[in-house]
């Protein structure tokens, strides 16, 4: 499986897009750190960029890549290789390459300019988001034979998780403001990986404000190391579930 992943990485490395992605992130990170002499402020701007860009690039690049890579897949399915291995290897290759670009473009500047736990959280959640949205992209690409439809679906899912979900949550909060919402809100954030990542970093960045009105439950949940482990497990589940579904469908798919 790793052999196939290796060839996928070779293929992506020849692709200029992943290099441009790394450079794009690098330019943004460096300019944010250099234009502002307060690294914690740069870090918070960087987090906003990360929450938008990582899922978007992750899901779009991966979806397009799978469609463009159909030849490779076609070639391999006639070989004595397990189908699930082919897809998993592709996943590792794509998510690994995107993560590498992210590590160079964003994690490296963060470790240089703003080392510390907040930076570390940002790096870890960024990689988690890369793996999650690559996984969702694989799901989209596998269930839709048509490229345009698959990419459209990927974009819609990104838009849903980035904007619509939070908008709905906001509406929900407006409507049910009179009720104790601590647990429902906590519950709902679990169903959006972007929210999950955002709150994880916020627990370091805006700890003071989070300790305010909604304090107790958040501290009990995200603040403790058990909560931290739990969040990481949740993020891992978010990466694994769409991928498992994609593999199941792919195993029975006609090529």
């Amino acid at each position: 499986m790793l052999k196939i992943a290796k060839y996928t990485v070779y293929d992506i490395a020849r692709n200029k897009i992943i290099l441009s992605y790394a450079i794009f992130l690098l330019v943004i990170s460096l300019s944010l750190f250099m234009l502002d002499n307060d690294p914690s402020r740069s870090l918070s701007s960087l987090m906003s960029v990360m929450l938008i860009v990582i899922p978007l690039v992750g899901i779009i690049f991966s979806t397009i890549f799978i469609y463009n890579n159909s030849e490779f897949i076609e070639l391999l399915v006639a070989q004595p290789v397990k189908r699930s291995y082919i897809l998993l290897a592709d996943y590792l290759g794509v998510a690994g390459s995107l993560s590498l670009a992210y590590l160079i473009g964003m994690a490296l500047p963060v470790t240089i300019y703003a080392p510390g736990t907040t930076g570390l959280y940002l790096i870890v959640t960024g990689i988690a988001l890369t793996f999650i949205f690559t996984s969702i992209a694989f799901f989209c690409a596998v269930i839709s034979r048509d490229k345009a439809r698959g990419i459209g679906m990927a974009l819609l899912l990104w838009f849903f998780f980035s904007v619509v979900y939070d908008g709905l949550l906001m509406g929900f909060l407006f409507l049910f403001n009179d009720y104790p919402l601590e647990k429902p809100v906590l519950f709902f954030t679990m169903f959006n990986p972007i929210d999950l990542a955002r709150i994880t970093v916020m627990m370091k960045m805006d700890i003071a404000a989070l300790m305010g009105y909604t304090g107790a439950v958040y501290r009990d949940f995200f603040g403790t190391s058990i909560g931290m482990v739990f969040t990481l497990i949740l993020l891992a589940i978010w990466a694994v579930i769409p991928l498992i579904i994609a593999v199941q469908i792919f195993r029975k798919k006609d090529l």
Partner: protein, 242 residues
């Protein structure tokens, strides 16, 4: 060697294969013929496990190919149109396939076609720069590379220049002499006559007939194979109309 039992497959509402029952044995060259959209390619893809049948089983050496990937070790497949990663170079492609197949020195490697097609001269070229014919050559070389017991060739000579087509045909003939099972789809009747022992005719997803070439010729009392085939097909069609 390969047994197909009650195979059925539809794409959405269109039935592409209807109740296919057939056996192929070693040392045979079977030519699969039929008009476009008769189900030839789908049948081949079922054998390769690329298309998952709705019903029925495919047995390879008596073993169900579902949930088994290793049987493909014994099959060399040459697709009708070879799709390859665009950025990959020809040499890398061969290297990669060997690498993925985990080839050890003890295994048989047959690079005769690579040499015969002079592919080494273009090892440095990227796949996307190749012409259709050259791609066919690469596909053919790949199919024979691992000395497989079964060769599945989908329109092998289409797009090849006459010289290369001859090279490939003689390679097929020598493979038959080695006792391999070879399945060929083709529209070119002269080629079928030249290579095949038996003919499998498909139409609208059904087997029309499956007969040895010699039998066809003697039954139809024709010397030219193409005429005999047309005659035979017409005969079956009339039979159906009655």
């Amino acid at each position: 060697m390969i047994d197909i039992l009650n195979l059925e497959k539809s794409f959405r509402k269109v039935k592409v294969l209807k109740d296919i029952n057939i056996s192929f044995n070693a040392g045979q060259v079977v030519s699969v013929i039929g008009p476009n959209a008769a189900g030839k390619t789908t049948l081949i893809k079922c054998l390769l496990g690329m298309v998952i049948p709705d019903k029925g089983v495919v047995l390879f050496d008596g073993k169900d190919i579902r949930n088994d990937d290793n049987y493909r070790k014994h099959i060399g497949y040459m697709p009708q149109i070879g799709h390859y990663p665009d950025n990959m170079k020809v040499g890398q492609l061969f290297k990669m396939i060997k690498d993925i197949r985990n080839i050890s020195i003890a295994d048989c490697i047959d690079e005769e076609l690579i040499d015969a097609f002079h592919l080494r001269n273009i090892f440095h070229k990227a796949m996307r720069t190749l012409s259709g014919g050259t791609r066919q050559k690469v596909s053919a070389a790949l199919a024979f590379l691992f000395c497989p017991r079964v060769l599945i060739l989908d329109e092998p000579t289409a797009g090849l220049d006459p010289e290369s087509a001859e090279t490939l045909k003689s390679k097929i003939i020598s493979a038959r002499e080695e006792g391999k099972l070879i399945l060929i789809t083709s529209h070119i009747m002269s080629e079928v006559a030249e290579l095949a022992d038996s003919v499998l005719s498909l139409q609208e997803g059904r087997i029309i007939f499956y007969k040895p070439v010699t039998e066809i010729l003697s039954e139809m009392q024709e010397e030219r194979f193409s005429k005999a085939i047309v005659k035979l097909i017409n005969q079956y069609q009339h039979a159906e109309n009655c």
